[in-house]
């Protein structure tokens, strides 16, 4: 299972990377979204996919799965949501003012 999930993570990372290297800003942002999916899975997988129980003390008995990675991922999810919201708006504001969503056209010159 872990091996399979890690392979999946690899595919997600590769796809995300390819998207991020694109010229279109929306593809880039989607790429970052996929990246965050991948890393959340990674944290969970490496945190140990034990066959333990749901970490609810009233629900089940020990052994529990490792709850710490879950808490970390929760934090990471919220943060990546915040960042995604911000960059989406940034992207369209940049489009409004610069008139393009093509990152090649958004290069700017070094010495202007």
């Amino acid at each position: 299972m872990e091996t399979l999930i890690i392979l999946l993570i690899g595919i997600l990372v590769a796809v995300a990377t390819y998207l991020i290297l694109s010229r279109n800003i929306i593809r880039v942002i989607l790429g970052t979204a996929v990246l965050s999916h991948a890393v959340h899975l990674l944290i969970l997988t490496l945190g140990g996919l034990k066959t333990g129980n749901v970490p609810l003390l009233t629900e089940a008995d020990a052994p529990y799965t490792d709850a710490l990675p879950q808490a970390l991922i929760l934090t990471a999810i919220v943060i990546s949501f915040a960042v995604t919201a911000f960059i989406l708006v940034l992207a369209y504001r940049a489009y409004q003012d610069n008139g393009t969503d093509d990152l090649d056209a958004l290069r700017g010159t070094n010495d202007e």
């Binding site: 609810l56 009233t58 629900e59 929760l74 919220v78 915040a82 919201a85 708006v89």
Partner: protein
């Protein structure tokens, strides 16, 4: 022909209340079952988003005249403020405390400072999500 959203709006009236109730429940019960301030806040925000989806902004704001970024700010203040409260009691920052009380009507009840903290979290989440969605929607 103009769009008639009567079906959507009517159903939404019911659904929103279900979601709101569920949101508050998630927020309050998070200490022992899945949920908590974040998820509760997100669900509450979804309910408000649903209102915006099925009505228009003007209408919703007439019924719900809140400045959501100030809601968010209040939430952050509440969340950080509970941490700061520890300073007054001479315990380490962010010390949460809990106790069981026998309250009239409620019986044995657990009261914890985490709940105040989580309320702040929930408020902040609601405020932020709605602020973002409203800001984008109102933009030309």
């Amino acid at each position: 022909m103009k769009i008639n959203d009567v079906i959507l709006r009517t159903v939404t009236r019911i659904v929103v209340f279900i979601i709101l109730t569920f949101g508050v429940y998630l927020f309050l019960s998070g200490h022992n079952t899945p949920g908590g301030g974040f998820i509760g806040g997100l669900v509450l925000a979804s309910a408000i988003v649903l209102l915006y989806l099925s009505n228009d902004i003007e209408k919703v704001q007439k019924s719900l005249p809140l400045d959501f970024k100030l809601v968010a700010a209040s939430g952050v203040l509440l969340a950080t403020g509970t941490g700061l409260g520890s300073l007054l009691f001479g315990v380490p920052f962010m010390s949460q405390t809990f106790a069981y009380f026998d309250l009239p009507v409620f019986g044995k009840t657990e009261l914890t400072t985490v709940t105040i903290f989580e309320a702040g979290v929930a408020l902040a989440v609601v405020g932020v999500v709605v602020t973002i969605i409203l800001s984008i929607s109102e933009d030309e």
